[in-house]
Symmetry: C2
Subunit: 409 residues, 2 copies
C-alpha cells in the first residue's frame, strides 16, 4: 500500500525508518543462531524468589496505593532509597534531585526534549550507545563526534573541538558520555580524564550527561568514582543516569535522572506531558528491594556470573581468533569491541556470519555519521557458557574466511 | 538561585513552567479539604484480590520472561487479548495494529512526536483534556479550538473552520476528540455527529485521534459505537486510544494506540527511542487479566460504584446549588461540568473554596487559549459518598457568596 500520511508527518518522523541495523538484527532471531548481538542481561541474574516475596509484600502492605497513579517525579520512598544507595556509592545527591523514569532511554528522551532544538549540537563518543544517538536524532540534533581510544573518549580532542566551536560562536547543548565499561567498546575513562572532562564542561558552559548503566558490573580492578563525584556542588553540571535494568531487572522499567534542581523541575514538567508518571507498582517493589539491602548483596551474584562469562569469551577469543583481529579486554560491563584487519567490512560479512549461525552488531551502528566498518560489538552477558565457546569458534572461522577473501581480492 | 541553564534549554522547554493550575492544585492536598479536583479512579474499584492471584501466576508461569526487556510494540499475548476484547466492543482491529504504551498520555506524546512540527495546527474541543493540550504544546502546536455544546464538539462549526483553513491553504495535522463522557464536560457526541466527524476527516485529508478512556464507564443509556467503528477500512483515518487506567488500575501504566499499519510502524520507531518498551511485568499481568475474562466482569462492579456516586452528586447539586448555576448530567464517566452565572470567576473564587475546605479544577485549565472563566470541573469517582454530600454543600455555599458579591459589586 502506498503511504497516505506523508504530508502529515513531522520533519523528525519523515526520517524515522526501520533502520538497516534493525533489519539485520531480525535475522538473528532464528533459534539455531548463537547471537552475540543483544544487550540483554542474563535471566539467571534475576532474583526471582525475592521479587515474588516483595511483590506479595507490596500488595499486602500498600494495597491499592501501589496500583494508583503516582506523582510525576516518582515514589518518595523509592527516591529516598536511591539517594541513600547512591550516596554510599560516591554519587552525591538528595531525593529531591532524583526523577524516576521508565528506563534510562526515557531519561535521554526527556533531556532531549528540554535541551534540543533542531540543529542543536550534542557531543558524543565515536562510537557510542545507539539508543542515545536515536534519542538525540528524534529531536533533530547534530553531533560532535569525539573519537575514543582504549581509555574511552579522547578528552584532549574534545577540548580542541570545544575551542574550535567557541571560536565559531557555537556551543554544544550537552556532552554525552558512558564513562565506565562503555557501550559498545567496553572502555573506561580513567580518573584524570574524568576530572578534565568536568572541568571542560564548566569552562565551556554546558552540561554533562553521565550515563552509567554498567558501572556496578565490575569483575576486576578497583572501582572508579563517577564523574558526578567530581562535579562542583556550587555549580553542578552533571546529569547522572542510573538504572535498575542491569542490576535488578529491565522489565520493571525503573531508572533515575539525578540533576540539579533547576533542571529537575523542567524534567518533571516535561515528564508530566509525556506519561504522567512511571509504573507505580514496580516502583513500590523496587523501593522495597533497595531499602531492604537486596541490591548490593545481589550484585555479588551478578558479578560472579558475568565475570565468568567474560573470562570464557576472552579465552575463546584468544584461542580461536586469527592474527590481525583486535579486541578490548574490559574489566566489566557486557560487551567486547572487536576490530578486524584493514579491508574487512563487518556489514558485508554479516550474511556469512548468519549463514554460519552466529551474529553480532555491526560497528557502524554506533557511529554518529560514519566509521566502524571493520568493527563489531559482541555481548557476553546473555549467551550460555557453551554458546560463547561454540559461537566464538564459528565467528572466528567466518572472520578467517573474510580475511582470506580480502587478501585474495 | 538564579537560573544558570537558560541559554541551553530548547524553545519548547523555555515555556515549560509549573502552571498556575498545578500551583492551585497543590493547595488541595491538605487532608481537611474535600477535593473534587482530581481525576483519579476510586481505589475501591481496584480488583486487588485478582491482581494478587494473577501476579503470582505470572511469576510462576512465565518467570524471568516477565522481567526481561520486551518488544517495543508490546507483548504479543497482550495485544491479542486487547484485539479480541476490542473487536467484541465495536473497535475493529488486529493485534498488529495495536501498540502498547505506558498510558494514553504516552500515546499523545508519541503521536505529537510523529505528526507535529512547531506551529502545526491541532483541532481540539474547547474545552478539552488538559493533558492533551500539554502534550501538543510540548511539541509547539497551535490549536484550532472548536466549541462544545451539550452534545460535545460542534461538528458544524468544525466544518466551517476546516473549510476556512482550506481556503487559506492550511490543514490541521490531527483532530483530537474525546467523544464519550468527555473530559472535562462529561458530554457525549451523538452517532450522527460521529459519522459526520469521520467524513470530515476524510474530506479534509487529516487524521482523527479518538481518545476513549471513559467509554466503558456508562451508568445509564445505551452504549454508542466508537468513531473508529465508522471509519473506512480501505482508507483508515482513526487513531484510537484505549487504556486500562480507568477499567483496571492506573499504576500498571498500560494503554493502547490502535492505528493504521503505516502509522503504527512510525509509532513503534518513535517509541523505541523514547523508552525501548513499556513495563513488561504489568503487561504480563494485564494479558492474564483480559484473556481470563476478568475485565468485562469487573466493569459491572465499577459501574455500580461510580454510577451510585454520580447519582449522589447530582442529588446534592439539585439540593444545594443556588439558582443560576448549571451543570451537565453525564450518563457516564467521572466528571460534572458546572457553570456559574455571568460575572462569576472560578479562579478568583478558588481561594474562598479552599478556605471552606472544598476544591475543584478551574474551567480555564481546559481551554486552549481562553474561556471557562465561569466554569469548573468536579469529580465524583474518587471521593466517598459522604464527602460528596458534604463537599457539594460547602461548594454551594461558596458559590452562593460569590453570586451575592458579584451582584453587590
Amino acid at each position: 500500500m502506498k503511504p497516505v500520511f506523508d504530508d502529515l508527518y513531522s520533519d523528525r518522523a519523515s526520517g524515522m525508518r526501520a533502520s538497516e541495523i534493525r533489519e539485520l538484527l531480525k535475522l538473528t532471531q532464528r533459534p539455531d543462531i548463537i547471537s552475540f548481538a543483544g544487550g540483554l542481561p542474563n535471566p539467571l541474574a534475576f532474583p526471582l524468589g525475592i521479587i515474588k516475596e516483595l511483590t506479595q509484600k507490596v500488595l499486602d502492605r500498600y494495597g491499592e496505593k501501589a496500583l494508583q497513579y503516582g506523582t510525576t517525579e516518582g515514589l518518595t520512598s523509592l527516591r529516598e532509597a536511591f539517594a541513600e544507595n547512591y550516596n554510599a556509592h560516591d554519587i552525591p545527591c538528595t531525593p529531591d534531585e532524583i526523577t524516576i523514569v521508565g528506563g534510562s532511554q526515557q531519561g535521554l528522551d526527556l533531556l532531549s526534549k528540554i535541551f534540543l532544538n533542531p540543529g542543536d549540537e550534542v557531543v558524543v563518543g565515536d562510537p557510542t550507545y545507539l539508543g542515545g544517538l536515536a534519542a538525540f536524532r528524534a529531536f533533530q540534533a547534530r553531533f560532535v563526534a569525539v573519537p575514543l581510544d582504549n581509555d574511552g573518549m579522547r578528552v584532549d580532542l574534545l577540548e580542541e573541538r570545544l575551542e574550535k566551536m567557541r571560536r565559531e560562536g557555537r556551543k554544544p547543548k550537552m556532552v554525552y558520555v558512558i564513562p565506565t565499561f562503555q557501550n559498545p567498546t567496553g572502555t573506561t575513562l580513567p580518573t584524570d580524564r574524568r576530572k578534565r572532562l568536568i572541568d571542560l564542561v564548566h569552562e565551556y558552559d554546558t552540561v554533562l550527561v553521565e550515563d552509567n548503566p554498567y558501572g556496578r558490573l565490575r569483575y576486576e580492578g578497583e572501582p572508579l568514582k563517577p564523574i558526578k563525584y567530581y562535579d562542583d556542588p556550587d555549580d553542578p553540571r552533571v546529569i547522572y543516569l542510573g538504572t535498575l535494568s542491569k542490576t535488578l531487572v529491565p522489565g520493571f522499567r525503573i531508572a533515575t535522572v539525578v540533576a540539579p534542581p533547576e533542571i529537575t523541575r523542567k524534567l518533571v514538567i516535561a515528564k508530566q506531558s509525556t506519561d504522567l508518571c512511571s509504573t507505580t507498582f514496580t516502583q513500590y517493589i523496587a523501593a522495597e528491594y533497595i531499602s531492604g539491602g537486596y541490591l548490593d548483596a545481589h550484585m555479588r551474584k551478578i558479578k560472579t556470573l558475568y565475570g565468568g562469562k567474560r573470562n570464557i569469551m576472552l579465552k575463546a577469543m584468544d584461542e580461536f581468533m586469527p592474527d590481525g583481529v583486535e579486541w578490548t579486554r574490559p574489566e566489566g560491563g557486557m560487551f567486547l569491541w572487536t576490530t578486524l584487519p584493514e579491508g574487512c567490512n563487518t556489514v558485508e560479512m554479516f550474511p556469512k556470519a548468519v549463514e554460519n549461525k552466529v551474529a553480532y552488531v555491526v560497528g557502524k551502528a554506533f557511529y554518529a555519521y560514519e566509521g566502524g566498518e571493520r568493527s563489531m560489538r559482541i555481548n557476553f552477558s546473555y549467551p550460555t557458557d557453551e554458546q560463547i565457546m561454540v559461537g566464538i569458534e564459528r565467528l572466528a572461522k567466518v572472520i578467517e574466511e573474510e580475511i582470506k577473501d580480502k587478501k585474495a581480492g
